[in-house]
Each structure stands twice: as structure tokens, then as C-alpha cells.
Symmetry: C2
């Protein structure tokens, strides 16, 4: 990477585009935008910019491209693989001030937004329409960041990941062009699908400056189930059977025995020390829910369920799911002296028992404390490693590597929903083979000076810390 | 386009890869592969090849690329926009003999197939698993062709288009490389989404040699509704209300008054001369269906429904839907002296009444016979123009042009599900603007000699007939 340094003249050119209030070289701003929520090392940019409209984003890219200065886009910094850490310095392009709803298309179940809006803020503002944007990665991630990383979350088993819930975007390219990709028409077979090329490209091909999202009606009736099983095998078989039944769960989560035990011991959460499946169902009719629950109960009984609790009452539902929704915070609170390394891999569901068996073996063999939470319905797991020092951290990295390799071996992927960022770049060749060369070809032609989010996705550009 | 001619030496090189039985220069074979089901003029290739495995496809592309000879991939020829007509001659690459199921992954609700298998044949072979591949464009299109054109059909409102039902593909590139794109893991945030770049690219970026498809459980309970309304406006508002209710229809179709009248007059189909909405619902529980139907009835009553028929009985359901399922054949049978030009545009659903109003106006103004069938739930319509001579044909082309322009003006697309092929290339600049240049850039870098399906998608490559 032969980038040029940020000079006072370059900063002045940025200020001419953005106004003085839109450009900062202050240490405090640079520090605020130097790390995400991952374990990856912080790195400061030389200058932070705050565009308020798409044309400014395009102009910043054009200037940076002409000057050969790297640009790293930033949503709100909730990434988990260092996706928006400006490892080569240069410009940090914060989209925080582009956080408006542009238009609600209620009849079309669509909303057009600027990229910096948090998905929770968006859903709060949409509440009066009876519609919501379903992908939910937990944190109040920005919509632009979610699209750039193809974030997913708990309800993806029913509603899909970010890539499934976007119809149209405006994207600023490295050379300063602004293009429209996709269509507000839900059906489109017109030319190449550039929309999905930019979704998940982590800001390495362009910067999303506007997006039209799909919305779905807020479910009027919801039920919840929490079921504990004697073995992970039984729990996973239940997951497969529920999916095969046509019951269409809105969430289908697995929490391992160690995690349940920790939640119980830490805060008296009402769970037994067994692998536990959390389910949620949405329906237009109350009666559909009731019928669905008895079908679920039957499946669980067949799989030798140890305890089964279910409800259609909203208050009761929140209580039942409390442990799952707050599992991360409870874990963090109960390990005040630890940091956390969070793994993210996904496999075809038929390989899920093998993957989880492998994790259990590793854990036993290396005598390490780990907790596991899985979006089981999607074949996705997160193994969480608490660590207190660099020895534990390095061991967590090693275990993570073994798990990633095993997931790919099982027909899966190095990352189900956190993206490649810095942490998964080393596995791209292994996972994609010759297709990685095609990705490189496309990158080279759309961003010939490699200014867009350098150090991400492509292994040869990563500055290794480990 | 500066292509080279097919020489006997080149044919011999093809035969060395494919065996003598895999290569034909016979007039009969070339004629069989010269036209699809559209109105576009036939054009013969110079040689037809029949690979039986992926490596042969890759080898054919490598040879053709070295020799600068065009290659047009062919599924079964059911395209509707000339998508697989070899307008520049050269090699017609038929995938007819690559028509096997490679593996059924029943636990994962997936199947891996070769591209030449018909989707109806696939579903017949899958019947014993209780799973099916939902996209259904009507004809027994090949899966590879469906993916290449992102075909959709009646059940897309619930199950999505072809692009939403594929997880992984093997693709042969112009230079003879074979790559894997996507993953059997339903979740993947790993690098660029090349899968969706190739889906819908109509064989202009590569040739699909294998695909892993998503399957869904065959619904155990289905209901059907046929409801007639006093106006198109009322019918479309019903469609919007049904979608907004969270009822999740599996099909939501509009047949216009003219089409209903024709169906009734031609074959005594039991429909009134009013805009009619056909609906289908799928559910795991019988009771859910009943509850759903009464909710649908309420919505229809509010919209002033004239007649409402519904059923959950399978035999009765088939009878109710007969008119919709066979509307095309009945139309063709009742106009023995006509050919048909089928239009295909889609808009955001809020613009559907405006689009249909415009079509009605045009029809009235130009005194033309047209029939309209719409995948209303998706904002997609097909206006069908019967024509007897070149004057009627040219008028149909002109009307089609007006409808396409209006659809794009309404925020929609030139093609909802038939693809660009020859017929829609003229609208690409208009629909995509600067994004078309990005498509050209990607095309140029992946197929530098432009050998892959030339004359499609990009306006500058089309040999105009009109």
C-alpha cells in the first residue's frame, strides 16, 4: 500500500467541501473513531470527516482518490471484526450526521434512509406505521454499517439477513461517481445485481449513501418457547424438526449448558444447566399461535425435552426471553476482570451437531472457559472466550482458528454475520479459492488506487497483529 | 463485435473436449436452438455443443475465448426476451445433458443440481422428500436458465424469486476457470456476494455449471380464494390490504376484466367480467387457514367485493385456480390465428394502480385487444398483445415501449422476471444511468473478449430488428 500522507492542504480541500464543522483533526475525535467493539487493536485516522449529504461523500472520495489517501467509512463503531478501524490512517468518513429517514413508503412497506441511522432508532420512528425493519444484530448498529457488513441476528431465520431486506441503494464510488443500484420494485431482473455486490463489501467498493429497506408488519401475535434438552444433539435435532415442520419460527436460538449455568449462577436466571432452545413464533391470528405451540410441544417431547415453557402473553414472553436477550451483558457483568473474544462461524444445519461437538471437545481438551450462543436455525454460532491476559487471548485466537477451519471443512463459512474485516481475511483464500481472485479483480477495477477501507477482506492488505 | 468465424479446426478442437457425440453442426440442431418462446427473430449458431460435465463447459469457454468466438448458453429455450438466441452465431452451449440431481441435502432443505434440469422435473424427483423448489415461471424452464435470468412466477410473493432460492453455484468463466460462489451455509458475510452477481447476468459473465438450491417443506394445508371487484382500484387496494395484514399469501394474482371475459367466452370458465384477485395461502395448521380466510373475507368485504369464493379442499382449490393456471394456454387456443407479445414490467405496489390505469388508457386510446395478468403482490404485470400481422406487432412494440417507460417513471423496472435479453437492452441506460457503466466495467474485466452471450443486456451490442 503506497498511500500519501494527509497534508494541511488536503485538510483544507476537505473543509472546502464539508465546511469547517465537518472536518476534525482533533485527537479526541480521532480516538473516538479508532476502535470498534472487537478485540482488534485501535488505530487512529489522520482526519475525521462528517458529511451531511451524499454529494459530500462522493466529493471526499474523489479528493482522496486523487490524493491517494485511504478512506475508512464509519457507522457507529459496533463492528466485531475491526471492519471500520482505519488501519492505514488517512480519512475516517463518519456517517453519523447522515441519520435521517428520507421517506416512508408505508403502502410499499419500504423506508428510505440515510446510512447513519441506528436500526433501533429507525424502528422507534417507524412504530406509528405498524411496520419494522427486522434485522437486529443486538447493538444499535447503523443501517449503513449493517448493510456494509450484511449483519443478521436473532430473527434472520424468518426475516433474512440485511442483504435480504434492502431493495435499492445510492452508492458513492472511489472516483466520486454517485450511482443507484437495485430498485424500489421488489421484483427486478434488469442487468447485473450491483445491489448485492455492494452489500457486504464492507466499504471496500463504495460507500452507501442512502438505502431503501424492506419493512414487514409488526406481528400482532407472538409466542415464546424455552425448552431444555438432555444433550446438544437432542437440542439440535429439535431445531431441525421445527424447521422441517413448516412452522416458520421467527427465532430459533441455542444456548449451551455452560452459558445457562453462568446465567443462573450470575443473576439467578431461571434456567437449568442444560442445552436450551429459545423459540419465537409470529402470526396474524392468535389461534395459529396456539396450534403452533402444541405442534412444537409434540416435537420437543419426541426429542426427550427436560423442561418446556411457553407463552403467548407479551409480558410473560419478555420474561422468558430475558436470559437470551441479555445474555451478553450478564456475561460481561459477571466477568468484570475479563475482555471477550467473540467467534462467528456458520455451517449447513446438518453439520451443526458436528461443529458443536468439535467445540465441546476443544474446550474440554484445552480446559478453557467458553460460552456458546447460536442462531441455531441458521447454523450460526458464536463461541465467546473471556480472557484476562495475553496468554488467554492468544489461546482464544488459536481456538477460534481451529473452529473457523472446521466450519469451512464442514461446508460452512468463516463468518456468518460479523463480516471479514481484519480478523477473517486470513481465511478468504481457504474459503473462496479462485473466486477470491475474481473479488480482487472487481476491487481493482472499481477502486484502482485501493483507497477504500484498505486492510480489510483481502489477506495481502492486512497488517497482522498476531 | 469482431468475432472470428467457426472453422473446421475449431470444431475439431471442440470435439476433442466433448467427443464426437457432443458436437453438432447439423442444420436440424442449429434450428432447434435458434429461437426461444419470444417474438424475437431466430438466429442460428454455427455449432451446437452438449457438455456433460462442468470441466467440459470450462474447456469450451477457454477454447472459444482463445479463438474469439461467441458462446451462447442454452437451457431449454423457454426464455421470453430472446435471452438465449445466438444472435452473433458461434457456439450454442446447450446444457440439456447436464440435467442430474447431484445431491439431496434433505436435512438442510437443499439440493445440488446440474443446470439443465427442468424445475418441474426437479420437483417431481424431490416429491418423496416432502420438499420443493418454489420458483415457478410456468414453463418447465431449466434451473440454470431460471438462475441466469432470475426467473420468478406466481409464488414469489411468499417464497421469493430465483435469486432468493439459491445458496451456492459453480460457475465457468470466459477464460476457462471454474469457481465456487456462495456457500451451503444459509448465512454468509464472507467477501463479495459473487453469487448474486452471476444470478441474473444472463450468461454474459459466466456459465452456471452447478447450483445448490434452497428448498421448502411442501405445505400441508393450502387455501384458495377467488374474488371479483367492481374496479381495478378496489382489487389493488385489496392486494395492499392483504399484504399489510401479515397474512403472508403464497400467491396474490390479478387478472383484468378483459382477460376474465375472454376466459369465460372461450371455455366457459366460471368468472365474471370484473377484475379478479386470485389468492393462495399455505399453513402448517388447518386451523390457521380457516382463521386466515375469515380475515381475508373481511378485507374483501370492506373493498366492496362482488363475488368471493374460497376453499381449503385440494380438489376444489385446483378447480378455483384452473382459470389462472391455464390462462395462457386458453388465450393461445382461443386465438388460433394470432401470435403473442408478452410484456413484463414491475413497479412498487403503491404505483400499481397508476400503471394499470395507464395501460387501460393506452388500450382504449389505441383500440387494441390486450389481456393483463399480474403478479399483483409483487407489483409485476404482463400485458399480453395478440397480433396477426406486422402492423399489429409493431403497434404492440410501441405500446410495450410506452408501458416500460411509464413503469420506470413510476420507480419500477423494465423487467420484473423475464430478464433483459434482446428486448429490454434499449432501456438499461434509462433505468440504471451511471450504474450501467459499472456493469460494463465488470463485464469488460470478466469477459474481455465479449464472447459470452453477446448481443444481450448492453444496448451497444444489440442487433436491432425493429
Amino acid at each position: 500500500m503506497n498511500f500519501m500522507a494527509v497534508t494541511p492542504e488536503f485538510v483544507a480541500r476537505l473543509a472546502a467541501v464539508l465546511g469547517d464543522g465537518g472536518v476534525s483533526t482533533a485527537q479526541s475525535e480521532r480516538e473516538l473513531h479508532a476502535r470498534d467493539q472487537s478485540h482488534h487493536a485501535a488505530h487512529m485516522a489522520d482526519v475525521v470527516v462528517f458529511p451531511t449529504e451524499a454529494q459530500q461523500v462522493a466529493d471526499v472520495l474523489r479528493l482522496a482518490n486523487e490524493a491517494r489517501i485511504p478512506v475508512t467509512p464509519w457507522g457507529v463503531g459496533t463492528g466485531l471484526e475491526g471492519n471500520s478501524i482505519p488501519v492505514y490512517g488517512g480519512v475516517l468518513l463518519s456517517l453519523e450526521r447522515m441519520n435521517r429517514i428520507v421517506a416512508v413508503h408505508a403502502e410499499d412497506f419500504q423506508v428510505t434512509v440515510q446510512p447513519g441511522i441506528g436500526h433501533k432508532d429507525l424502528n422507534q420512528q417507524l412504530a406509528r406505521t405498524g411496520l419494522f425493519f427486522p434485522p437486529d444484530p443486538g447493538a444499535n448498529a447503523s443501517v449503513g454499517g449493517m448493510l456494509a457488513n450484511n449483519a443478521a441476528g436473532i430473527r434472520t431465520v424468518r426475516y433474512g439477513a440485511s442483504k435480504d431486506n434492502v431493495l435499492r441503494m445510492q452508492v458513492a464510488l472511489a472516483d466520486g461517481r454517485l450511482i443507484q443500484v437495485g430498485s424500489r420494485s421488489v421484483k427486478q431482473s434488469s442487468g447485473y445485481d450491483l445491489l448485492h455486490l455492494f452489500v457486504g463489501s464492507e466499504g471496500t467498493l463504495g460507500v452507501i449513501t442512502e438505502a431503501t429497506l424492506k419493512l414487514v408488519p409488526v406481528p400482532t401475535n407472538m409466542s415464546a418457547v424455552v425448552a431444555a434438552f438432555p444433550s446438544v444433539q437432542a437440542a439440535v435435532e429439535t431445531v431441525v424438526a421445527v424447521r422441517g415442520s413448516g412452522l416458520d419460527p421467527a427465532a430459533l436460538e441455542l444456548v449451551d449448558a455452560a452459558h445457562c449455568k453462568m446465567l443462573r449462577e450470575a443473576e439467578g436466571v431461571d434456567l437449568s444447566d442444560h442445552p436450551t432452545v429459545f423459540m419465537e413464533f409470529h402470526a396474524a391470528q392468535e389461534s395459529s399461535l396456539e396450534a403452533g405451540l402444541s405442534a412444537v410441544r409434540e416435537i420437543c417431547d419426541e426429542m426427550g425435552v427436560i423442561s418446556f415453557r411457553s407463552t403467548t402473553d407479551p409480558t410473560e414472553r419478555k420474561k422468558l426471553w430475558h436470559a437470551r436477550h441479555h445474555s451478553y451483558e450478564i456475561m460481561v457483568r459477571s466477568h468484570p476482570d475479563r475482555r471477550f473474544f467473540i467467534n462467528d462461524v456458520a455451517v449447513p444445519i446438518s453439520s451443526y451437531p458436528a461443529l458443536i461437538g468439535y467445540v465441546e471437545e476443544l474446550k474440554h481438551e484445552h480446559q478453557m472457559t467458553t460460552y456458546m450462543i447460536g442462531h441455531a436455525g441458521d447454523g450460526n454460532i458464536h463461541v465467546e472466550f473471556p480472557y484476562a491476559d495475553d496468554f488467554e487471548y492468544q489461546r482464544a485466537l488459536a481456538m477460534n482458528k481451529l473452529i473457523v477451519i472446521r466450519a469451512i471443512e464442514l461446508g460452512g463459512t468463516a463468518t456468518g454475520e460479523h463480516g471479514v474485516g481484519i480478523g477473517k481475511a486470513a481465511y478468504m483464500e481457504f474459503e473462496h479459492g479462485a473466486a477470491l481472485d475474481v473479488m480482487r479483480t472487481i476491487k481493482a477495477v472499481l477502486d484502482p488506487n485501493a483507497i477504500l477501507n484498505p486492510g480489510k477482506i483481502f489477506p495481502e492488505t492486512v497488517r497482522t497483529e498476531h
